[in-house]
């Protein structure tokens, strides 16, 4: 029992170290990679344009629900004027970065893990290495660079759409004066909150994109499966672990950045 725990812990530490090394190597190989810009643009397309609809739709509904729920709760205390505060702080501090990241994991992260897994499987990664091309620099680095920029952008878009959704359900459906809502929003959100939002989004982007690439990249190392099964196992693993890590990292960052 104790030995099993020790073995598991060591395995986990080793994997964490391996992951850190993988990410570091991807950034270190950036100078070796030529014509990186084009692949960053493609990664922007995968993470940005492709995921925009789902981010906007989920953002919209999150705002609508927050507005509705918040209104009913606040109504009991006669404090409907605080609806903007509730919606905006929930969105900026937590919902925006977390939900946007989860949507991106579901859409772009899974695709990334599967794509790199298949490239590993069909020896495309070996082919790159044989040509003397760094597969880290070629495949992983552009995705990581894009994630550092795209995730905060998606979070900001999520928040903006969500705020609008909140005002829609608050004012249009429930008859709250839009001015009250928007002034509460502007009063409530501080620069600290916005910084928190972006710090979270950037961290989630680096973490989830790195993890998805890492598991796809190491699909061949899967102990239990080979071939297509290994790729599907790697993809599942990547998505599940990324989602857990988003929430875990969210907790850690919140506890570090929390204010009075």
């Amino acid at each position: 029992m104790v030995r099993a725990t020790g073995k598991y812990t060591l395995g986990l530490v080793q994997e964490l170290g391996d992951f850190a090394l993988f990410t570091a190597r991807s950034f270190a190989d950036v100078p070796k990679s030529r014509r990186l810009g084009r692949r960053v643009v493609r990664a922007f397309f995968e993470q940005g344009v492709r995921c925009l609809p789902v981010v906007m739709i989920v953002g919209m509904f999150t705002g609508l629900v927050l507005g509705l729920q918040g209104y009913y709760v606040l109504n009991k205390f006669g404090s409907e004027g605080l609806l903007g505060t509730l919606v905006s702080l929930s969105l900026v501090r937590e919902m925006g970065p977390v939900l946007a990241a989860l949507m991106l994991v579901g859409q772009a992260g899974s695709a990334l893990a599967a794509e790199i897994g298949i490239q590993r499987n069909s020896e495309q990664i070996a082919a790159l290495e044989m040509m003397g091309v760094s597969s880290h620099g070629y495949l992983v680095a552009p995705r990581l660079i894009a994630a550092l920029i795209v995730f905060p952008m998606q979070a900001a878009i999520f928040v903006s759409v969500g705020l609008w959704g909140g005002s829609l359900s608050g004012s249009l459906l429930l008859g709250l004066e839009p001015g009250i809502y928007w002034s509460a929003v502007e009063r409530a959100v501080q620069s600290n909150d916005v910084i928190e939002c972006f710090v979270k989004a950037t961290t989630f982007g680096l973490l989830t994109t790195g993890l998805c690439a890492y598991y796809g990249f190491n699909a061949h190392r899967s102990p239990s499966a080979t071939g297509a099964r290994a790729v599907s196992a790697a993809t599942t693993h990547a998505v599940v672990l990324s989602s857990i890590m988003v929430l875990a990292a969210d907790y850690v960052i919140t506890s570090f950045l929390v204010r009075t």
Binding site: S33, I118, E123, Q124, A127, E129, M130, G132, V133
Partner: protein, 269 residues
């Protein structure tokens, strides 16, 4: 850099590789002359692919030395490794084409990533390589939209676009019918002479290999049990060579035994 070492481009000495308990290469050696077409024959699972991957640096051998153009390849010697990689191409069994890139982009990739050529030059050279392999009409297609033979040619175009001195072929005829096998070997032999590269082919197709190669080696149980010209191979009395070369007549004997109602001897040697 012209051949100072008796015209030898590649020298492999005592290569050993084991995966766990399974010894795949057990002191394998091979010498490849510059400008020749060398075939390494062997049964499925005899370690041919691993041998080739050790040469290509995809798999790291446990022991042994590999010398390319007189320079020893050691894992820690990055300069030697880079020099080798810039002068050598590898053709994978499954072609390993990038399926999200078009034919032209596939061919252009090694130039884009490993040379300082301008975009226009890269395009010209890539188109030239495609044209030489009669693929210029398909430059905007994706590998998935090409037939098996075209994919093989595309992979070869990508391999030769960097003008390598050595091309390693991993089972280029795997899963092809006899006519296509002939076509692939004819293609390798033709372009090998046309572009003056040295070719090292790993295969188990005996007749095609004998017809096309200058030099033949037979890998069995991790060791080279035969090395020589195709003529030597055809005349060899080595039991492994005979089993391999005369597989059809061995099959005939086996079938005759079955028809006579005797248990066939499945001993492979």
């Amino acid at each position: 850099m012209s051949a100072p070492h008796d015209g030898l481009l590649l020298e492999v000495e005592g290569l050993r590789k084991r995966f766990g308990e399974n010894v795949v290469l057990d002191g394998t050696s091979l010498r490849v002359k510059r400008g020749s077409l060398v075939t390494v024959l062997g049964r499925s699972g005899s370690g041919k692919s691993v041998f080739l991957k050790c040469l290509g640096g995809v798999v790291r051998p446990d022991e042994g030395t590999i010398r390319f153009d007189g320079r020893e390849q050691r894992p820690e010697d990055r300069a030697a490794r880079a020099d080798f990689r810039s002068r050598c191409s590898f053709l994978f069994q499954g072609n390993a084409l990038f399926d999200s890139l078009t034919a032209l982009e596939n061919v252009a990739l090694p130039l884009e990533q490993t040379t300082d050529l301008k975009d226009r030059e890269i395009r010209e050279r890539s188109l030239e390589a495609l044209k030489q392999l009669e693929l210029e009409k398909h430059q905007d297609r994706y590998p998935g939209q090409l037939s098996g033979g075209m994919q093989k040619r595309l992979a070869l175009a990508r391999a030769i676009v960097t003008r390598p001195e050595l091309v390693l072929f991993d089972e280029p005829t795997a899963g092809l019918d006899p006519l296509r096998r002939n076509a692939v070997f004819a293609m390798i032999a033709t372009y090998q002479r046309q572009f003056h590269f040295t070719a090292l082919v790993v295969t188990h197709d005996v007749p095609e290999a004998l017809a096309a190669s200058d030099h033949v080696a037979l890998l069995d149980n991790g060791k080279m049990c035969f090395e020589g010209t195709p003529q030597d191979f055809a005349a060899s009395e080595n039991s492994v060579v005979r089993g391999f070369r005369d597989s059809a007549s061995v099959l005939g004997t086996m079938l005759a035994e079955i028809r006579r109602g005797e248990a066939p001897s499945t001993d492979e040697s």
